[in-house]
């Protein structure tokens, strides 16, 4: 019987509307409980207590992440740390090794992370990296938006077959949710082409991004999966793309969430910062964060994560193959591309968001504006689309900017083209400073609800998993901006499902890390099974029998979420 009592902390838990009250939190056998008999007592007086945080979108495990690691030795230069006690050696800044990834999330109070894009054919690779990432629970989103089965079924509006295929693929890849990346555009990239608008036809397949997105919303709700579709829309990163984004978000209108996981949204649009740009070219580049945030505020059935730009040298990576080619044409830095048969593609390019470059400054402003214009922080989540807009290790710095206007003003002053950044954005006029309650919504309660995991994560209600973070941060005191960043960079204490991971700032355990996946049951569907068999015979280069991820050597500690979608 392992029992802990965290006493006298300032507790922030939106799931219970607890807003900084001084309360005790009790842990027993991995769960939050009302009271405990003989606990080990931790005095959190003057400290901030929250549930463990969730990252709803980060590229932390899998083929393109590893391309990034392998092709950027310079990203490791002078930042490696040696093995210490039971802790493995760490390395890498923008694309850290799996061990540093687990440790770094834990240090910030994060206990659950979702790998944002899993190419199904590479599922084994993704799971091997997840296995070697200590402490944090992880799930992975297989990509569907350019998958030949999906394109062919949806061309004929076959929702039930699409759903049956999704159910099969989630099971054989041990996947968590339905991810779309540049729907249709990445298949077009197979021929060096793209789909920039939701109405652009996909070469050969005679379907549009619009039809793919709506069809997958319908299939996702047919299955009643925990998470909604997780969408990276078309036309990412281009001046004037906010209209494409609004066209994309509108596709969710009229759909209602159907699931048993307490999820209300039918579409999660990810790293929306990259999709909220005005202007016609880089010269007149401007923020359209207000337009996008206002629409999201009105539309209760969609959620977003931001993808804050952190102004670092980082490594961009996405299944949006054509975008990465576009990027390497712009910055002339090394380019990796990885097209995947029948399924998807990926690209990787290093990128420097320089405070000396006006566009980087505006991108920084767009991210912060999206959050600061958002009215419902349960539907607006903190991400950097790691590592695309910046490494996840910068979350505390982002919090500093979100919680302190002073911090924002200091950064604005530091820009070389400060005036132009101000004139092309609204960031300088915003005086909103996020509260810790709102931070807990953005990083805990919100993502947990949208992922359909609020029965496990995101709060401190008795019965939830005992993922608890204690920060050395007194909300009643005044803080200099950098003190905010410092406090959230390194938890004082952390529990993962009741196991002490960090005490007095030191990592003492690798915990009991789990791999989350969703196993939907659907009616027998002989046609889809025939189609699968046929495609493996004719077009795949691995056999059907060699496709499914099985065995402890890939997933030593699975946590399966069963969904019954039989009719």
């Amino acid at each position: 019987m392992s029992e802990y009592l965290i006493k006298n902390g300032f507790v922030f838990d939106p799931t219970q509307k607890i807003n900084g009250d001084v309360k005790d939190v009790a842990i027993q056998d991995g769960k939050i409980v009302d009271k405990v008999a003989k606990p080990k007592v931790i005095d959190a007086k003057g400290m901030t207590v929250m549930a463990g945080a969730l990252d709803i979108h980060a590229h932390v495990a899998g083929p393109k992440v590893n391309i990034g690691r392998i092709f950027r030795p310079e990203d490791k230069l002078f930042n490696e740390t040696p093995r210490k006690g039971m802790m493995r050696s760490e390395g890498g800044f923008s694309i850290p090794t799996t061990y540093r990834t687990g440790y770094a999330y834990a240090r910030m109070g994060y206990t659950t992370v979702m790998e944002a894009a899993m190419p199904p054919l590479f599922a084994r690779h993704v799971h091997e990296e997840i296995r070697d990432t200590p402490i944090i629970d992880e799930g992975a989103y297989p990509v569907f938006g350019n998958n030949w089965f999906v394109l062919e079924y949806l061309k004929n509006r076959e929702i039930e077959n699409t759903a049956a295929y999704i159910a099969w693929l989630l099971r054989v890849t041990r996947g968590f949710a339905v991810k779309l990346v540049n729907p249709g555009g990445t298949e077009a990239w197979g021929w060096g082409l793209n789909c920039l608008q939701v109405t652009d036809p996909v070469p050969y397949f005679d379907i549009t991004p619009e039809e793919i997105i709506k069809g997958l919303i319908e299939a996702n709700e047919y299955l009643g999966l925990p998470h909604s579709i997780h969408l990276h829309g078309n036309n990412l990163g281009n001046p004037g793309n906010y209209t494409t984004t609004l066209d994309t978000l509108k596709l969710a209108e009229g759909y209602k969430a159907k699931n048993n996981f307490g999820r209300d949204v039918v579409m999660h649009h990810t790293h929306i910062q990259f999709h909220s740009y005005g202007g016609t070219k880089w010269a007149d580049f401007e923020s359209k964060a207000k337009e996008v945030a206002d629409y999201v505020n009105r539309q209760k059935n969609i959620s977003i994560d931001v993808g804050f730009v952190t102004l670092d040298e980082t490594t961009t990576m996405t299944a949006d193959g054509p975008f990465e080619h576009h990027l390497t044409e712009l910055n002339h830095l090394k380019w990796a591309n990885a097209d995947v048969e029948l399924e998807t593609a990926a690209g990787v390019v290093p990128y420097i968001y320089s405070p000396d470059i006006f566009v980087s400054g505006v991108q920084w402003a767009v991210g912060l504006e999206i959050a600061l214009f958002s009215k419902d922080m349960m539907r607006c989540h903190l991400t950097t689309d790691h590592p695309n807009a910046g490494p996840f290790t910068r979350y505390p710095r982002v919090l500093k900017w979100l919680m302190s206007q002073k911090a924002r003003d200091e950064q604005i002053k530091a820009f070389k083209a400060s005036d132009k950044v101000v004139s092309q954005s609204q960031i300088a006029e915003i005086d909103r400073e996020l509260t810790l309650f709102e931070v807990a919504q953005m990083t805990r309660a919100g993502p947990a609800k949208v992922l359909g995991l609020s029965h496990m994560y995101g709060g401190l209600k008795p019965g939830l998993d005992a993922d608890v973070a204690v920060y050395d941060f007194n909300p009643e005191k005044e803080h200099k901006p950098d003190e905010i960043e410092k406090a959230f960079s390194h938890v004082k204490f952390l529990w993962k499902t009741g196991t002490p991971i960090i005490t007095d700032g030191e990592i003492i355990s690798h915990g009991n890390k789990r791999t989350l996946w969703v196993n939907p049951k659907v009616n027998e569907n002989p046609q889809v099974m025939r189609d699968i068999h046929d495609k493996f015979l004719k077009f795949y280069t691995v056999t059907e029998k060699n496709y499914e991820v099985t065995g402890k050597h890939f997933i030593p500690n699975p946590f399966v979420i069963e969904v019954d979608a039989t009719r």
């Binding site: 092709f71 950027r72 030795p73 310079e74 990203d75 230069l77 002339h332 830095l333 090394k334």
Partner: protein
């Protein structure tokens, strides 16, 4: 300027990593404190004192600290790594990474240096009386930012891949160069070879200048003869044939003019 002298009293079984031999690390330390600094032989951490007798005093800052290494230094890696100021004099030859990532100050090696000397050099001066190994003044693996600034002078010959991804600074070679000179160079670095070069000279070069006095055995096919020019190069007045390339690469425009890598061959 104060001088610290290191006299080898023992040789390591493996190569010895002496990144702590740098004016920045020695500054403000007594001989005893310097002798207590760490050096690494594989997985084993030793004190400097185990391999060197330390004599003299360091200055208060790197700038007024001078280090003299006597005796056999051929198994010492990383001498002067990342130094920002001050001086190092090596009376014989050194192993790899001499002056790697140095930012300022001066290193003078009276013998030869092995590969990767002045990797990612940002500034300062590296003087080599003997020969230099491969990858002199080159970028670290994967980095597109090679030698940025500073000066390297080699009296003898250099190995392959000199000035790999060079962005700035000057390298002057008294003798001959092995294959691949200034590959991927961009910006305005300058390489002068008083002897001859082999093949693959200026391959994939976007910008910068190469001057060769003694000829090239096989020219890159992607260099185009432009014209003859009279120049004074490091004290030598002569007529040079100007070639531009690498025509396979993209080339930026400056004031409407396309900027090429320039290869000057002395007649």
């Amino acid at each position: 300027m104060q001088t610290v002298t290191l006299i080898p009293i023992a040789q390591p079984g493996l190569r010895l990593e002496v990144d702590n031999i740098s004016p920045d690390k020695f500054a403000g330390k007594t001989a005893e404190q310097i002798a207590a600094l760490h050096v690494y032989e594989g997985n084993t951490q030793h004190t400097m004192g185990k391999f060197f007798r330390v004599e003299g005093e360091s200055g208060a800052t790197a700038a007024d600290t001078r280090i003299v290494i006597k005796g056999d230094a051929t198994r010492l890696k990383y001498i002067g790594m990342r130094m920002t100021a001050g001086e190092i004099l090596v009376e014989n030859s050194t192993d790899m990474y001499t002056g790697a990532w140095m930012q300022g100050g001066k290193i003078h090696v009276k013998g030869n240096v092995d590969a990767f000397a002045a990797t990612g050099m940002k500034g300062g001066e590296l003087l080599i009386d003997g020969n230099a190994g491969n990858y002199l003044g080159a970028a670290y693996r994967g980095d597109w930012r090679g030698m940025q600034s500073g000066t390297i002078r080699v009296a003898g010959n250099v190995g392959s891949d000199m000035g790999y991804f060079m962005n700035g600074g000057t390298i002057i070679v008294g003798g001959n160069a092995d294959v691949h000179v200034a590959t991927h160079a961009e910006g305005n670095g300058k390489i002068i070879i008083k002897g001859s070069a082999k093949s693959k000279v200026g391959g994939q070069m976007v910008g910068g200048e190469i001057y060769i006095f003694g000829g090239v055995d096989v020219m890159m096919p992607t260099y185009v003869y432009r014209r003859d020019v009279d120049l004074e190069v490091d004290g030598t007045k002569a007529k040079f044939a100007l070639f531009e390339g690498d025509t396979a690469e993209r080339h930026p425009k400056r004031k409407g003019e396309v900027v090429y890598g320039k290869l000057y061959l002395k007649y």
